[in-house]
Every structure is written in structure tokens, then in C-alpha cells.
């Protein structure tokens, strides 16, 4: 303990002897960090800006930074397409697929984390590697299956697809999370007379809520942004916001403002969620990279 204190004192003194250098470094880092952050964010910013312009302003050269904003483009988009319908589909499919996925993944991850066998690691690798196949590889069989069962262009169909898509990573994330639980606390619960169900209900679940939330968030983001299956298995009825965007991708002309408005409306909800829960989201994103 005292060794730590002395070393801290020594470091502090070392820093104090070059304060100017330290301050300069801090300023330089702050400037650089902000520069790159703003640079990375800029395209989104520009997109947002353009959504409030008129079509004429949107393609003005040189590009306009200052203008009177208008909501015209948003109104046009709402008039042209059923935005709310698509948004609702996106919301429904993301939320339900994530919830369903968790219902399957949590028990599986729990089983692998707390009752590991020799085959557990192999199983984990199999689960993860099943995710590697590009969707396009399974497109035809699945399309034909869906057609056969009448699931094309249904919300249920899309929900199931999203769930299956995210399941491997969900299992892996939850597994890593559950392994982090201190073993002794679970042993204490067992000594206190807890059965397996008690252990799960009173100890494991409450302590892993954070990890579950992070996993859920990441998977929701992925479901929301999913474009491949929504375009191929969905249509006007069950189409998600990906459909809305797809309808703008054919070059009808330079309707940039409307395109930006539509894009903004498509990405805004999930971005807001991501910003709001950024801490949890980052935790989910770190995918067990950090012990």
C-alpha cells in the first residue's frame, strides 16, 4: 500500500516538473480528437442539414451552409409513402425479434456458461461460424420456404428472420457476460439453499441485466438497419424502413432534399436510441473484447 503511495507521489512530481508540456499535449489531443470526431460525424450532419433544404438549395453550388430551413421535404416524403407504416414495421420487427432472441439465447448462454462440457467450446464456435455465411447464400432456399409457407411480406416472417440472424451473436455476447459473474457469489447462493432456478432468478438475472440490455441494444440496432432480408422477404405490406429507402435509390432524378429527409426519418429513431443509451451500447459493442 505504501509502495503505491510513494510511486504515485513520484509520478505526480514528475508530471509537475513539466506542466507546460503536459498542457500543450492535452490541448493538442483535445483538438485532434474533436477534429476527427467532427470529421467522422460530418456526413450525417450534412445529411441532416440537407433534409431541411428545398431541392434547389440542396444541389446549389457552392454548397449552402446557411439557409432558411423548411419542412417541405418531410411533408413530401410522408405524402409519397407510408412512412409511419414502415416505421411501425421496423419498430415491431426489431423489438419482437430481439425479445424472442433473448428468450432463446439466455437459457442457451446460461447453460454453456454454468454447465460447461468438453463440447461447449466447439458448440460455441459452430454457433458463431454459422453466422459467417453471407445471406445471399441462403437466399433462394429461404425465399422458397417462405413462399411455400406464405410468410413472404409478413411481419412475422421478417421478425423470425431477424431473430435467427442475430441469435448466434446474441448467444456469444450473453455467454461472455455470464462468465464474468463471480463464481463465489453463486456458490454462496447454493450454500444458502438456492436451487438452480432460485440461483438464476435471484442472482444471475439481476446481476446480468446490464449485459442483457447491451446485447439487446446492439441487436435492435442491427435489426433496424437490416437491409438484405427486408428487401428480399418483405414488400409493401411488411416492409421496414429499408424499403422506404430502397424506393429512393432508383435514380428518378435529383430529389436530394427528399432523399435526405427520408434518410433522416429512417435513421433518426435508432440514432436517438443509440445516443441515449450510448454507454450500454458501447458495452454491447465491445463483444467480450475486454475482460
Amino acid at each position: 500500500m505504501s509502495q503505491l503511495l510513494t510511486s504515485h507521489a513520484r509520478i505526480a512530481t514528475a508530471k509537475r516538473t513539466t506542466p507546460v508540456k503536459h498542457q500543450l499535449a492535452l490541448h493538442a489531443r483535445t483538438a485532434a480528437a474533436w477534429f476527427f470526431a467532427l470529421l467522422l460525424f460530418f456526413p450525417i450532419f450534412w445529411l441532416g442539414l440537407m433534409a431541411f433544404k428545398t431541392e434547389g438549395q440542396a444541389i446549389a453550388t457552392p454548397p449552402l451552409l446557411f439557409f432558411t430551413p423548411t419542412l417541405q421535404s418531410f411533408q413530401d416524403v410522408m405524402a409519397r409513402d407510408n412512412y409511419l407504416g414502415y416505421a411501425f414495421n421496423s419498430l415491431l420487427t426489431s423489438v419482437v425479434s430481439t425479445a424472442l432472441g433473448l428468450a432463446i439465447a439466455i437459457p442457451a448462454a446460461y447453460s454453456m456458461a454454468f454447465f460447461p462440457t468438453r463440447g461447449t467450446i466447439g458448440l460455441l464456435k459452430f454457433i458463431l461460424s454459422s453466422r459467417y455465411m453471407p445471406g445471399v447464400g441462403a437466399l433462394m432456399p429461404i425465399y422458397i420456404c417462405y413462399q411455400y409457407f406464405g410468410m413472404l411480406d409478413t411481419r412475422i416472417g421478417l421478425t423470425i428472420m431477424f431473430m435467427l440472424m442475430n441469435l448466434p451473436i446474441m448467444i456469444w455476447l450473453l455467454y461472455t457476460n455470464l462468465r464474468e459473474l463471480p463464481r463465489e457469489i453463486l456458490e454462496a447462493a447454493r450454500m444458502d439453499g438456492a436451487t438452480v432456478v432460485d440461483e438464476f432468478r435471484y442472482i444471475v438475472l439481476p446481476l446480468s441485466v446490464g449485459g442483457i440490455a447491451s446485447t439487446a441494444l446492439v441487436c435492435m440496432v442491427w435489426s433496424w438497419n437490416e437491409s438484405f432480408w427486408s428487401l428480399n422477404l418483405g414488400a409493401a405490406n411488411a416492409g421496414t424502413l429499408a424499403w422506404l429507402i430502397a424506393s429512393y435509390s432508383s435514380p428518378e432524378g435529383l430529389f436530394w432534399a427528399k432523399l435526405s429527409a427520408a434518410s433522416l426519418m429512417a435513421i433518426a429513431p435508432i440514432m436517438a436510441l443509440g445516443w441515449f443509451c450510448q454507454k450500454q451500447l458501447v458495452q454491447g459493442m465491445t463483444f467480450g473484447a475486454v475482460k
Binding site: 463471480p182 463465489e184 456458490e187 454462496a188 447462493a189 450454500m191 439453499g193 435471484y202 442472482i203
Partner: protein, 349 residues
Amino acid sequence: MAYLQLNNIEKYFGDQHAIKGIDLTIEKGEFVVFVGPSGCGKSTLLRLIAGLEPIDKGSLRLDGRDITALPSSKRDLAMVFQSYALYPHMTVFENMSFALKLAGVESAVIRDKVDKAAAILDLGKYLERTPRELSGGQRQRVAIGRSIVRDPKVFLFDEPLSNLDAALRVQTRIEIAKLHRELGATTIYVTHDQVEAMTLADRVVVLRDGQIEQHGSPLELYDRPANRFVAQFIGTPSMNVVPAAALPQLAELAGSAAHGDGFVGIRPEHVFLGAQRADSLAATVDMVESLGVETLVYSRLENNVQIVSRGSERTSVHPGERTHLTFERGFVHHFDRLGNTCASARGAL
């Protein structure tokens, strides 16, 4: 009849034979301490008794019941973990009442029991706090309280004091001793600290490499160790043990026939520094440690054998000086080639 009976308990971790056949009988109300060096299997043995690891061979009986195959939750044992293992998302009250809640006890009864335990451990003001808000010593008391509330058949302690600082350790040690006197509960306590073993135990079990080296009351182990390992493990600084051939005088004092290839031992407090006498040996002082209450002197005999002596008088010798060592008659231990005791101090064996 024995309260807790271990019969030929064995445990394997893969190929490693961690516990090699332990037989032990523990009476009701006894405070038994498992002590031994790192890796000797004391914690493993505790966990086997607790049911946190399965027993590979042998049987375990508690109060007449065979609990060898029972899961931990049904053994009616309580354990205080080294890291306390408190439930971080529950308050102190909830931590202490968890077991009772699981058992379906009425909340009025729970309240009563928790309050009583909290009173004994002086935790009354902390009942609504979470573990995060407590100090190390307080958390430890909550861990103990959690066990007391359950009124189990046996208390199990796994090195509970090792995470506390020195002062708190002494204080808590006394509290545990008092608690045992008040509650009279059967206790098994694991530690690597032999001071804890000596002060807390009714009976000490010394373990090495998965086997019991000796068990008995603390003083029994101190005065009449069964072998060299126990002799040197119990007591600090440890007993001076040298090959008999190197110190024939000591062998003579032990009073036994020439076991020329064995070892002789004598505890530091029975070695005296002083002027030359008929039966003294010349030595050079290597190092002096003055602890205030006593002085430890590390000396080297002419044949390069190092002897530690311990005396309550302040001494004026300095490193490098020459002095003379005498050994108190009747306190010499004699070990054979394999380390087993042939002749002990105080006339035993």
C-alpha cells in the same frame, strides 16, 4: 458419536490426486482449524465438506446422516468465503435473510433472526446499505452474519481474515473466538496463518499434499509434533532442525541412541546466548532482530549450521560478534531419517 465424520475422503482434479484419503472425526461444538501450506488441500477439503465440489471416494456423515451425495443447498452448512461473496445487488438485510427467504420462513421470524444476528455483530445501523457502501471489516461481519442467521449444523470459514489489514485481523480474530464461545457452534476454519490456528482452535489439523500430517490440540502439536513438517510448521520462528550428525551434542541431549542419520530439533526459545560453559557451543552472530518484547538472534555455529534463538531479555550482541549457545535439556526433539518423531520434548513417546 461424532457429529461430522469424514471417512477416507479422496478427490481428484484430472490426474492430480488432490485429497489422498482423509479420515477425521469432529465433535459437536468443536472449533477445528485446517492449516497447512499453499496447495495442501485445506480449501479443497472445506469445499468438499460444503458440497461445492463432488467427493470422488469416501463418505461424509453429518449428525448421523450420510451427506456425501447431497447438494450444498441441502447439507445445512453455512460458509463464510474468503472474498465474503456478498450479493452486490441486495442490501445487508436482504443478504442476511436470503437463505431464510428461500426456505419460506415467515417474514416476522426472518426480521427477528436478522435483528438478533445484527445485534451480535454490531450491524444494526447498516441493514439497509448495500455491500458497496461498506468497509472490508463490515462486509466480513455481514458474511458472518449471513451464516449465523441460518443456525446451521456446522460453520465453515475459508480464510476469512486474509483480506483484512493487520489490526483488523487481530480484532476480528478475537470476535470470532468470542462468537464461538457464545454460540457454541461446530466450526471448521481454514487458514494458512498458524497464529490463527493456535489461538482459535480446539483442535488443529495440519495438512500437507492432501493428507493429514497430525491433528490435536494446539499445544499438543506444539510440544509433541508427530514429524518434522509439523514441528517446523507450527511456531514462529520455526524450530531449529538440523541433521543429527551436524550437532551430536544436541542428539545426546535428546537422550536417545545414535540415530546418526536422523535430525534433531529445538525451538528458539530453548536456545540461550551467553558466556562459555561446559556444554555450550561457539557461534558467530549473523543478525539480530529486536522486536521489543523479545529478541531473535540468528547465529552460525562453527560448522556453518544456523541456529535461531529467542529470548525476552534485551541483548547487547551485534552481528559479527562471537557468542556461545546453550540448549535447554528436555526440550530437544529427535526425528528419524524420514522425518518422523522418535523422541519428543517433555518426556512423550
